[in-house]
């Protein structure tokens, strides 16, 4: 299926290198969600997804960055968040996306939970090279 690329607004970048940066990544997500005028529930879902993904970037990816932007297609507005790291990558994506699976100390809900909370979810990973996760939350 071909999806038309949405128009992308100004891209804001947050480095994710410390636990404080995870908090800043959440704040960036919140600011974009408010600017996009997402509903309160959708704002909460997006910021929660951002928190999970930012933590993954730090803990499993060894740090990386968040690029966030407002996007717009023919019908609606949205917030797009892209988390990138140059970490070890994910050998078994299906396993990593299943509930309860965790290689760390979490509950294993980070990736699978973020996928449920977002409207669009895209994961690209190469073992030994890194992982990029993109989520979009659209206005309804």
């Amino acid at each position: 299926m071909t999806v038309a690329e949405p128009d992308v607004g100004e891209v804001r970048v947050q480095t994710i290198a410390t636990s404080d940066d995870v908090v800043r990544a959440r704040q960036l997500a919140r600011n974009l969600a408010v600017e996009c005028r997402l509903s309160l529930v959708d704002q909460t879902k997006l910021v929660t997804a951002a928190s999970e993904l930012a933590r993954n970037t730090l803990v499993y990816g060894g740090g990386g960055s968040l690029s966030g932007a407002l996007v717009q297609d023919a019908r609606r507005r949205g917030v797009r968040l892209t988390f990138t790291d140059q970490g070890p990558g994910i050998p078994d994506v299906d396993l990593a996306l299943s509930d309860g699976w965790s290689s760390g100390s979490g509950m294993g809900l980070g990736l699978s939970g973020a996928r449920r909370l977002a409207d669009d979810f895209d994961l690209r990973t190469t073992v030994g090279a890194g992982t990029t996760v993109t989520v979009i939350k659209w206005t309804h």
Partner: protein, 125 residues
Amino acid sequence: MSDRVPILRIGENLLVSIQIDLDDQTVMNLQEDLAAQVVKYGARGVVIDITAAEIVDSFVGRMLSTIASVSRLLDAETVVVGMRPAVAITLVELGLSLGGVRTALNLEQGLAILAKRASAGAAGR
């Protein structure tokens, strides 16, 4: 940089209010501080007020479950109060049901649950 969340003591109960945007280390510190204070003061109840928390992610959710379990082992009941509706909806979608964690809509009702437990416990002795 990580901070300490202040823990207030009201009678036999401990009260923490999660106000700021907590980083993971602060969350871990709170878990340990609460367990230590439950023992130090012989607290019978712990109230965690999340009225001001805009989100509860899996890390904080796990912290709430852990505090409830640890407190129970130390003979104290935990009540989480003030969850926002959007937070509740998001937690369920995230896959966290917070089983084993007592909740109340607000601080007053949370304290009432603990008072009832305390009086039931006293009557049973």
